[in-house]
């Protein structure tokens, strides 16, 4: 199994397109960091302008907040970069014509498919690790660390600077699960197509469509929202909210809605299992006619 997975990784990392994603992330994060380094104050003014009745002191625009801003922006784009590879995993082979040569080799289709999915997942994880390095460690280096102030939609959270890093570890872990779910969807769609554009566009369309549905505050959509996996993808933010005691003091090391995170992780994992399971079942019976 690992043998097959390593072959797939070898193929992924021998292709120039793989590195486009890493370059894109580097460029995007660099651009955000440069922008905030040059003119961060106006961003902060804009951000705290809405809470004019409070006096805010301290280094608000520190590495922790910047990583949050970047994550918030990029976790919308990263699915595209993940899809670029995962939705190409099978369809790309069909398109190149290598699928029929590969599948005449003596190994089981299920194993091959799973190893391909693992390879796509490893690529996804590497992409996120790279993102974490750039967005978190990069920002921590450039902007330093301090308490992290977050404006939620109706309240403000201040996290002690010693209480932030582990939350990022959790958030990136969560993001990894949600991105693997995206990869799984792209992967499933890639078995139906003989070119990679179709599944890439379809995967992105589904994600954009569901995201729009899940953000529209219309009662009808509120019923279906909990069942859409994209709704759960945003819940990495739950790591950045603390519980408070009766005196409204935030309790270091706590998470306000840990059950929401666990619930989302379960939903996302179920989606991954369902997408990959469906891919295996369908692909095992699939006639290779390309």
């Amino acid at each position: 199994m690992w043998q097959l997975t390593s072959i797939e990784l070898y193929k992924i990392f021998r292709r120039p397109r793989t590195y486009i994603s890493f370059a894109a992330i580097t460029a995007l994060i660099g651009a955000v960091q440069l922008g905030l380094k040059v003119d961060g104050q106006s961003y902060v003014d804009f951000m705290i302008g809405s809470i004019s009745s409070l006096e805010i002191e301290g280094n608000i625009l520190n590495g922790y907040l910047i990583c949050y801003i970047i994550l918030q922006m990029l976790l919308v784009q990263v699915p595209l970069l993940v899809t670029l590879i995962s939705a190409d995993m099978i369809s790309g082979e069909a398109n190149m014509g290598t699928l029929r040569l590969v599948l005449t080799k003596p190994f089981s289709r299920t194993q091959w498919l799973l190893s391909k999915f693992f390879a796509a997942s490893i690529y996804t994880l590497l992409l996120l690790t790279w993102m974490a390095c750039m967005a978190l460690f990069g920002s921590m280096l450039i902007f330093g660390t301090d308490d992290m102030m977050l404006l939620k939609s109706s309240y403000i959270v201040i996290l002690d600077d010693t209480d932030v890093f582990w939350r990022y570890v959790g958030a990136f872990g969560f993001a990894a699960v949600s991105m693997v779910a995206v990869a799984a969807l792209g992967f499933l769609l890639s078995i139906f197509s003989e070119n990679s554009i179709g599944p890439i566009v379809t995967t992105m369309s589904i994600i954009v469509f569901l995201t729009v549905l899940s953000t529209m505050n219309i009662p009808f959509y509120n019923y279906i929202r909990p069942y859409l996996f994209v709704t759960h993808m945003n819940n990495w933010k739950e790591f950045f909210d603390v519980q408070v005691n009766a005196e409204n003091q935030s309790l270091t090391g706590t998470i306000q809605n840990s059950s929401r995170i666990i619930n989302s992780i379960i939903v996302l994992l179920l989606h991954i299992v369902a997408f990959v399971g469906a891919a295996v079942v369908i692909f095992k019976k699939k006639d290779i006619t390309t």
Binding site: I51, E57, L151, K152, Y155, I156, E238, Q249, T252
Partner: protein, 231 residues
């Protein structure tokens, strides 16, 4: 607010006239409290400057903040600074900078008695303080003064820009200098603008507390001081 000034002044004058009239009948309610306030001020003025460490708890319904260490600096006549040691602090505007000495920085005020009360078992004189300066942000301060020890136990300050604050002091070792061990600032957060999700948060049910609670809730910042260094 400025155009109210003449009226306030006028009302003040009428009030004084009224009180003078009352003086003949009810001695206690017309008493000029300026000497008492000046005595309190004199006690506070013993201190040229001080620094202190403190632990600050912020209890504002829409803010989740950790307990944090703070440092305060005071220098006569009215420099007061509160710093969170290497962190971010969110405080009501102007509120926490109003300390005792600050309030009594000038002698340009009118003070008169408004009765007696008991706070924490201590009998206190209620004194209304009206600054005479046009530029003062403070409109009215009501002080609850422990006459025997010359300590301000409680102060309610109404400002033009920043609403009404209440400060409650608890004294300990530094009572001789008129420096409290604990100060509780209370203020009304009813009119506070809440942050609007600039972060494009899609979270639902994010409200930590009931909206009604939010309307009624008073904000409170509690600072426990220790390690006073007095000069």
């Amino acid at each position: 607010m400025k155009h109210f000034k003449p009226y306030i002044k006028a009302i003040g004058k009428v009030f004084i006239v009224f009180m003078v009239a009352m003086y003949t009948y009810v001695n206690a309610y017309t008493q000029d409290m300026t000497p008492l306030v000046l005595k309190v001020k004199a006690k506070l003025d013993q201190v040229n400057s001080y620094t202190a460490d403190g632990v600050m708890k912020t209890d504002i319904v829409f803010i989740k903040a950790p307990i944090s260490k703070v440092k305060v600096f005071y220098k006569k006549p009215n420099t007061f600074k509160l710093e969170r040691s290497g962190g971010i602090s969110l405080l009501p505007k102007g509120g926490v900078s109003i300390n005792m000495s600050n309030m009594l920085a000038t002698t340009n005020f009118t003070a008169f008695a408004a009765g007696e009360e008991t706070i924490k078992g201590v009998k206190v004189r209620v004194v209304k303080l009206i600054p005479m300066s046009e530029s003062s942000d403070v409109v009215l301060t009501t002080m609850y003064i422990d006459e025997a020890n010359l300590l301000i136990m409680k102060a309610v300050t109404t400002t033009k820009e920043n609403g009404t604050y209440e400060m409650e002091m608890t004294y300990g070792k530094f009572a001789n200098y008129g420096l409290p061990d604990k100060v509780v600032f209370s203020f009304n957060t009813k009119d506070y603008k809440l942050p609007k999700g600039i972060t494009l948060e899609f979270e639902e049910g994010a409200k930590p507390n009931d909206a009604n609670l939010l309307k009624n809730k008073k904000g409170r910042v509690t600072i426990n001081y220790f390690n006073y260094v007095v000069n």
